[in-house]
């Protein structure tokens, strides 16, 4: 994540900020291969499948040695059917007296050979074909895909049957036919992967470096196509085993002299009026083999790319916690009768790949006054977004939030369950997210989505809610609200979609509006307008705002108060003017220095070196020390508490002796904002 450097300068890494949980991804480079094997070997189900398959291979190779009976040998007594165990037949015999166990072993041969034939044919045809049409695109692609489309327009078995008609029946021909049909699947897969790989810069890079087409294809594209191809091949092998059994069962695959599992089922059907038994062992053999290939294929897939973390409506409310330390922290500066009082918020997540917990937000205290705009500022990974979400009980799974108290307008929210909190969400607290186009449901018109909370919370009729939604659209500056209300989210630009979100968030007249990076995903030209709009609406309605941002410049002319967060902790909080003029924490100084401004300076835009470390690396002392230019021996002693200094609170061991460089607030406003300074530019 390069965000830490760039983010301080004003641009942002939208992807990193968008993730609801500040859990950094494992770094991809380097040990990918060893991790692949480690993950695969750790997957017990996949390994069980692999072991079973090895057993099948052994049975197939050594079939003649494993049994004293002959594959096709029938007892002299035609029409005799020994039960399992009878006359030395472990699994009994079929209706002409052939030993079932022997035939199961030999059946493994036919299954594996048939599967290998089909998969080989599919790969030999599908891979070059897919590579070619994916690489050359244009006409080659159009004609090739047309052909694939024709073949897959008919069910695979039916197409295979048509091919078998041309080739003649028999096991080899049948599997050739199946392979031909499967090759279309491989073609499509390879083509899609090549298309994806082409978009990657390394292919363009290789071409720019003068590599030939063929070289690019084999050396650069194929390795990227390989993982999905390996997975698909394994799964197709399972399908081929099934197809072999199915076609042999119909009598158009293996012939009567071949002890294929499918053929055995066909024979078993002949005596089904007497007993089902001869059908059971081959059925189970097919079933287990297919399961084994499938679970092994799934295991490979998971090992190549771990699936996204498990779902469910994964949000958790905040559970109560006792204050452990004796000394209460100093009260955050603010008004005497704040709207929101947050005390002792902790949020923990399970550490990726391990069972232990890691703390991503620690002991956050926050007061937001009535009608006040509070800015929560910090780099991505500092825990500010999740702090905002916790106020509404929306901490994503598997996160766990606990707090001593969250009081909203005199009401305690801690301990409320999901359903109690429903009357807070949308009704008392509205929220705007960073990525407006993702935050709106693509399947419904924006009007319905804005009307929804009105109907649920205020009990409006469909018609009333619609009228109100149109009014709200007009208030947030959406032109033509009567028409636009019936449009779908994809028909809106980012800025307009964010206006829809604002209308939705304010629809039930909430007391608190959480704006989580409301402008980060938007075009620079509309960012200023959007902040103006939020500020105006909040002021005119007397709504308090929690403005979450990574960019201190953004808050300069909007916020009354600032809380700076770093690595899960609030490191400084105070009135905006104080924080700007006399920062009390080195991190704040760094953030201020990184605001682009209109004054001559030499060299690059100053940034704070390094990035926010992942939560499991946070030390048990000052979290910022490793990046701090003023770091000294006392910073390494132990945890640092928030302390009062001037009108602000700061979490710095050396704050009293440092003279940190601030900025005249007005100067920042004049040049940092995208908007023109207006008369009301000076808040508080």
């Amino acid at each position: 994540m390069s965000d830490a450097l760039a983010g301080l300068g004003g641009s942002a890494d939208a992807g990193a900020l968008a993730s609801p949980a500040p859990v950094p991804q494992e770094s991809a480079a380097g040990a990918t291969r060893s991790r692949f094997w480690a993950r695969l070997l750790r997957n017990k189900v996949a390994m069980a499948g692999a072991i079973y398959l090895v057993l099948v291979v052994i049975a197939a190779i050594f079939a003649p040695l494993l049994t004293s009976h002959d594959e096709t040998f029938a007892t002299r007594f035609q029409d005799i059917l020994f039960s399992p165990g009878e006359a030395g037949y472990v699994l009994g015999t079929d209706h002409v007296g052939r030993d079932i166990l022997t035939r199961i072993f030999f059946g493994a041969r036919y299954a594996l050979i048939a599967g290998a034939e089909a998969v080989l044919v599919a790969l030999v045809i599908g891979v070059p074909f897919g590579l070619a049409i994916g690489y050359f695109r244009g006409w080659a692609d159009r004609i090739g895909m047309r052909f694939v489309e024709i073949v897959v327009a008919v069910p695979a078995v039916v197409m295979a049957m048509a091919i078998i008609t041309g080739l003649g029946t028999g096991l080899t021909n049948a599997m050739l036919a199946i392979g031909l049909v499967f090759s279309m699947i491989i073609t499509r897969l390879v083509r899609a992967e090549v298309f994806a790989a082409r978009e990657e810069f390394y292919v363009d890079g290789a071409r720019a470096a003068g590599a030939s087409d063929r070289r690019v294809m084999w050396r650069h594209i194929l390795p990227n196509v390989a993982p999905p191809l390996i997975v698909q091949t394994t799964l197709l092998f399972a399908q081929a085993v099934l197809a072999e059994a199915a076609l042999s069962f119909l009598g158009i695959g293996a012939d009567a002299s071949q002890a294929s599992w499918g053929r055995m089922l066909r024979d078993a059907e002949l005596s089904i009026d007497r007993t089902i038994w001869p059908a059971i062992p081959p059925g189970i053999a097919i079933f287990l083999t297919v399961v084994a290939f499938n679970v092994f294929g799934d295991g490979l897939r998971d090992a190549f790319a771990r699936e996204a973390r498990g779902g469910r409506v994964g949000v958790g409310d905040v559970v109560p916690k006792e204050r452990s330390a004796a000394a209460a922290p100093p009260r955050p500066p603010g008004s005497d009768d704040p709207l929101l009082i947050l005390r002792g918020l902790d949020i923990v997540f399970p550490k990726p790949g391990e069972g232990t917990d890691m703390t991503v937000v620690r002991d956050v205290n926050l007061d937001i006054g009535r009608g006040e705009v509070m800015a929560l500022v910090g780099e991505s990974g500092s825990g500010k977004t999740i702090t905002g979400l916790s106020l509404m009980g929306l901490v994503p799974d598997p996160g766990q939030a606990s707090a001593e108290s969250i009081v909203l307008d005199g009401r305690e929210l801690v301990g409320m369950d999901f359903n109690d909190l429903r009357w807070i969400r949308g009704r008392e607290i509205g929220i705007i997210f960073q990525e407006p186009s993702a935050a709106l449901n693509p399947a419904y018109t924006v009007g319905r989505q804005v009307a929804e909370p009105l109907r649920v919370h205020l009990g409006m009729s469909k018609r009333e809610a619609r009228e109100r939604a149109i009014e709200l659209f007009a208030e947030v500056g959406i032109p033509d609200p009567h028409k636009r209300i019936d449009a779908f989210p994809h028909q809106f630009s980012g800025g307009m979609a964010q206006r829809v979100m604002i209308a939705m968030a304010l629809s039930c007249e909430p007391k608190l509006l959480i704006a989580d990076e409301p402008t980060t995903a938007l075009d620079v030209t509309v960012q200023g307008q959007m902040l103006d709009l939020v500020g105006e609406l909040a002021r005119s309605r007397g709504v308090s705002v929690l403005l979450i941002t990574h960019d201190l410049g953004v808050v300069a002319d909007l916020a009354d108060r600032v809380a700076v967060m770093y690595a899960g902790e609030i490191v400084e909080t105070g009135r905006l003017t104080d924080v700007f003029a006399t920062p009390r924490h080195p991190y704040t100084e760094g953030l201020i220095a990184a605001i682009p401004r209109n004054e001559p300076r030499s060299g690059d835009l100053p940034t704070i070196p390094g990035v926010v470390p992942p939560p499991w690396e946070w030390p048990d002392r000052c979290h910022f020390a490793d990046r701090c230019p003023y770091e000294a021996i006392e910073c390494r002693r132990g945890p640092v508490d928030l302390r009062q200094l001037g009108a602000s609170l700061t979490r710095c061991e050396r704050s009293h002796e440092l003279e940190l460089r601030g900025v005249q607030h007005a100067a920042v406003v004049a040049i940092a904002g995208w908007e023109q300074p207006t008369g009301e530019g000076e808040p508080a």
């Binding site: 069910p155 029946t169 199915a246 089902i276 059925g283 779902g311």
Partner: protein
């Protein structure tokens, strides 16, 4: 919607034509003389030549193709080489049997598969999810004709609850028709349910992590509404796509199930056609199957447009 429908139908025509062409020439690859198959080994050369002339297969391939295509376009798929019946008529009797089996299974599979898939997603990582995941991967691996055999034996022969084979006389009442369909539908539908459950689970898990679900929660909606309104509709899109593939797979699978239960449907007809090198019958079988798949896909395209406004034409 109408324009979408018309454009889909227009696109389907060349596709059907190509399928017909491909299969026609594919079937000609076989060196075996159909006349010899029909007349038996002891037929003399003269009568074989006569038979070939009668079947029209002594003419150049292109002429045969053109002739066949011209009649096929107006719904005449030729005459069965072996029994002299009109193939169109034979197929017409069989289509309803196979389709009721396929759609019976599909509807049940969609209902069961979606319900279990959504449940698994909502309980992701907990025991209902694990149970459903295991069950669905097992369900995908069982050959349908084997389930058919086992069901026919236990439910049909042993318990005698339901007919083990299709009644030899045409079922005369709806009740008997349904009764005869139950076991074949169950045998056929298990793997489809499993596939749909897996897809429903994974797309639901994906959708539940989307921002708009968080938005819906942030509005203060009850979980049930978030799931039923905001999540399911979006999660349904890949499921609908899969249902298209599944229809095709079910038609393919019906061949084997029909074989087990002796159902007089398309599948048996197709298998007989292959075993006896009965070209006009095979062609008719493939064309009709392709047509069913094409129609189903058009219907799915329309429902896809309903689910996903982005692909809806303005």
């Amino acid at each position: 919607m109408l324009r979408l429908l018309v454009s889909r139908i227009l696109a389907a025509i060349p596709l059907m034509l190509m399928v017909a062409t491909l299969v026609f020439f594919l079937a000609q690859l076989n060196p075996v003389d159909p006349a010899a198959t029909i007349m038996g080994d002891d037929a003399d050369l003269e009568s074989l030549a006569e038979k070939r002339a009668e079947l029209g297969i002594d003419r150049p391939l292109v002429v045969q193709y053109w002739d066949w295509l011209n009649s096929a376009v107006v719904g005449d798929l030729g005459t069965n080489w072996f029994n002299g019946e009109e193939i169109t008529t034979e197929l017409r009797d069989r289509i309803p049997v196979t389709l009721s089996m396929v759609f019976g299974s599909l509807i049940v599979a969609l209902a069961i598969g979606s319900a279990f898939g959504v449940l698994a997603a909502l309980k992701a990582g907990r025991w209902p999810d694990r149970t459903i995941t295991v069950a669905s991967s097992l369900g995908l691996a069982v050959p349908n004709f084997w389930i058919g055999l086992v069901l026919a034996y236990y439910v049909g022969v042993k318990l005698q609850w339901l007919p083990a084979i299709w009644p030899t006389t045409r079922p005369d009442s709806l009740a008997r028709w349904v009764e005869a369909l139950i076991l074949p539908c169950v045998a056929l539908g298990i793997s489809a349910s499993a596939a749909i459950a897996r897809q429903a689970r994974s797309s639901m898990i994906g959708v539940l992590q989307r921002d708009y679900v968080r938005t819906a929660l942030a509005k203060g909606l009850p979980v049930r509404r978030v799931v039923s309104r905001h999540a399911i509709r979006n999660a349904a899109i890949p499921v609908v796509t899969l249902a298209g593939f599944q229809t095709s797979a079910l038609i393919g699978g019906s061949i084997f199930v029909e074989f087990v239960f002796n159902v007089p449907g398309l599948g048996r007809f197709g298998v007989d056609a292959i075993l006896r090198q009965n070209m006009p019958a095979l062609l008719g079988f493939v064309i009709v199957t392709a047509a069913v798949v094409v129609v189903v896909n058009i219907v799915l395209d329309l429902s896809y447009a309903w689910l996903n406004p982005k692909v809806r034409p303005e």
